[in-house]
């Protein structure tokens, strides 16, 4: 039932297309100057002198692990304590007929999202997770989670998990959230 035939276009093409779309057709360069808050960067948005050093070399020692990271598991992605869900907010798509990176039937993944940096307890490494909302169905009633590791406020929207992240989708109705592996955190 997992249809690869419906896979979205590759990230490079998608990113570029969306950039143009949101820019109303303007060039990529002029767009970049406008994006501001819509940009999503590495684990911690590295803007602040006070935090840059910390962000560059995340401390993954047991002492620095959050309560979530210390008790996270890697076996069941239908539970709130699955390791990738360290900053998820909403219904888990894995409980709603979808998968960890798959939207339930009839819903559509938002190409833009908020992100988290979560530690996989199996290897102790940190990974960048994109929490892509699935959009276009009413809110799924299953497996509500609200984890808040490094989750910030609205003026840093790419690290805020309350925003309805349904941009560039045909409907902005929030259905559920996925936790897509993007890569190792630097």
């Amino acid at each position: 039932m997992h249809s690869k035939g419906q896979v979205m276009m590759g990230f490079d093409a998608m990113g570029e297309k969306l950039l143009r779309r949101f820019a109303g057709g303007s060039s990529r360069r002029s767009l970049l100057s406008r994006l501001g808050a819509a940009l999503v960067a590495a684990p911690v948005f590295p803007l602040l002198p006070v935090s840059r050093a910390e962000a560059a070399k995340p401390d993954r020692s047991p002492e620095a692990k959050t309560a979530f990271a210390r008790s996270a598991q890697t076996k069941d992605d239908g539970k709130c304590d699955y390791w990738r869900y360290c900053a998820i907010d909403g219904a888990l798509c894995t409980c709603c007929g979808g998968g960890i990176h798959s939207c339930p039937p009839g819903s559509e993944p938002s190409p833009v999202s908020w992100v988290g940096t979560c530690i996989n307890p199996d290897d102790g490494k940190a990974y960048l997770i994109a929490y892509r909302d699935c959009c276009g169905k009413p809110t799924c009633g299953q497996c509500f989670c609200d984890n808040t590791d490094r989750e910030t406020q609205l003026y840093v929207p790419q690290l805020n998990n309350d925003v309805i992240w349904c941009f560039g989708t045909s409907s902005m109705d929030y259905h559920c959230s996925t936790a897509v592996m993007v890569g190792a955190a630097s």
Binding site: M1, G15, V40, A41, G97, S102, G141, Q142
Partner: protein, 387 residues
């Protein structure tokens, strides 16, 4: 552009657009595969699936696999919408009323058609109106061949809208004074229950309709038939249950006939239910108080202890009635009082029950064993694919 924001770009940091570009610009170590997002699809409706409406409090009808207890997807039903399953398994139909500005603006009545494999909206069929009530199985029915949809309207005059589902267009509105709660009537049109205690039959021929009535057989105000009754398309029979616990079987056809009723309490060896208050007894109750396993003629009824006029009360027991022998063959004691019940039409039937908080359980109908408990499944009515 502010000084601060300009400096962000000037710094040449690894700024990326969304996480999409992040993956492209900062390639992960070889062992980490960046995942791509996609969307699942479904097979045609499976006989072990339950379709649970969210009810008043929760939008959407969630599809649960009775075997695993897992949710498979959701059909977009909002409060007061009615869903019907295409008997041919290709579509889910939602009869709904939408205002252009939520509670104001232009009223739009329609049947929205969803593809059963993708759950995507295929098209909308405009309607002249429909009733706003919700929690009813029989206000939007589909003919056994899947060709016609019948949608009850109340404005507050009583009518039925006929829709040609294959041509996807509205055909006609049939005025039906004093009747509601529709039953497919193959080759004829539809039947309905009436306030005079009769069963009306509407023969639809194109835009014309002839209405006939049986003789009155039940007391619509004193001992009403629950309007969420059951219909068996293989036998062309409807099974009716009244507030006191009388069970009727109606043979549906051009001239329907209704059996003499029997009492569910008498079938269990106790005193029949009465309309007089003060007399404590077991009574049927809930929103969807009965479910019929068609092939075996087993009727499952939610029962509670109380007085008469407690017909919305949730059931603390589920009684299994064998319609052929007119006996209660089993009484299941429920852990929580339940408001709705439905049963799969499979050889090993599964029961789905939900309560007023919207929590659900799946029971093995043979043993009563609780197979799955599903919190927040939805508090509305439950449907299964036609057998």
């Amino acid at each position: 552009m502010s000084r601060t924001v300009r400096s962000i770009f000037a710094a040449g940091l690894a700024i990326v657009f969304a996480t999409a570009a992040a993956a492209a610009q900062t390639p992960p170590p070889a062992e980490v595969e960046a995942e791509i997002s996609d969307t699942m699809t479904l097979p045609s409706p499976v006989p072990t699936w339950f379709f649970v409406d969210g009810g008043w409090d929760m939008p959407g009808t969630s599809i649960f696999d009775g075997e695993t207890g897992k949710m498979k997807g959701m059909v977009e039903t909002r409060r007061l919408a009615d869903m019907a399953i295409d008997p041919n398994g290709r579509y889910y139909y939602v009869s709904e009323t939408i205002w252009s500005k939520v509670d104001r603006g232009t009223r739009q009545d329609m049947v929205s058609v969803y593809d059963s494999k993708t759950l995507n909206l295929v098209t909308e069929i405009a309607l002249p109106g429909r009733i706003l009530i919700g929690s009813r199985k029989n206000n939007f029915i589909v003919s056994d061949d899947g060709r016609f949809g019948y949608i009850y309207d109340f404005s507050p005059t009583s009518a039925v809208n006929v829709v040609d589902l294959s041509k996807r267009k509205f055909v006609t509105a049939v005025e039906l004074p004093g009747c509601a709660s529709l039953i497919p009537n193959p080759g004829v049109g539809f039947s309905a229950l009436c306030s005079d205690g009769s069963l009306a039959t509407v023969a639809v021929r194109g835009a014309k309709a002839d209405i006939t009535h049986t003789a009155p057989f039940f007391a619509a105000s004193d001992d009403p038939i629950f309007d969420n009754f059951a219909y068996d398309r293989a036998k062309k029979e409807s099974v009716f249950l009244t507030y006191t616990g009388q069970i009727y079987t109606a043979k549906i056809g051009p001239t329907p006939t209704v059996s003499a009723p029997f009492s569910i309490q008498a079938a269990a060896g106790i005193r029949p239910g009465e309309t007089k208050p003060l007399e404590l007894n077991w009574y049927p109750g809930g929103r969807q108080p009965l479910a019929l396993h068609r092939a075996t003629g087993q009727l499952f009824v939610l029962m509670h202890m109380g007085e008469y006029w407690s017909h919305k009360a949730s059931g603390s027991e589920l009684w299994q009635v064998d319609l052929a022998t007119q006996k209660v063959v089993k009484r299941f004691v429920l852990k929580e009082a339940m408001n709705n019940v439905e049963v799969t039409q499979t050889d090993k039937p599964l029961l789905f029950l939900n309560d007023e908080k919207g929590d659900g359980v799946i029971l093995d109908a043979a043993t009563g064993e609780e197979k799955h408990k599903i919190e927040n499944a939805g508090g509305g009515i439950i449907s299964v694919p036609a057998s």
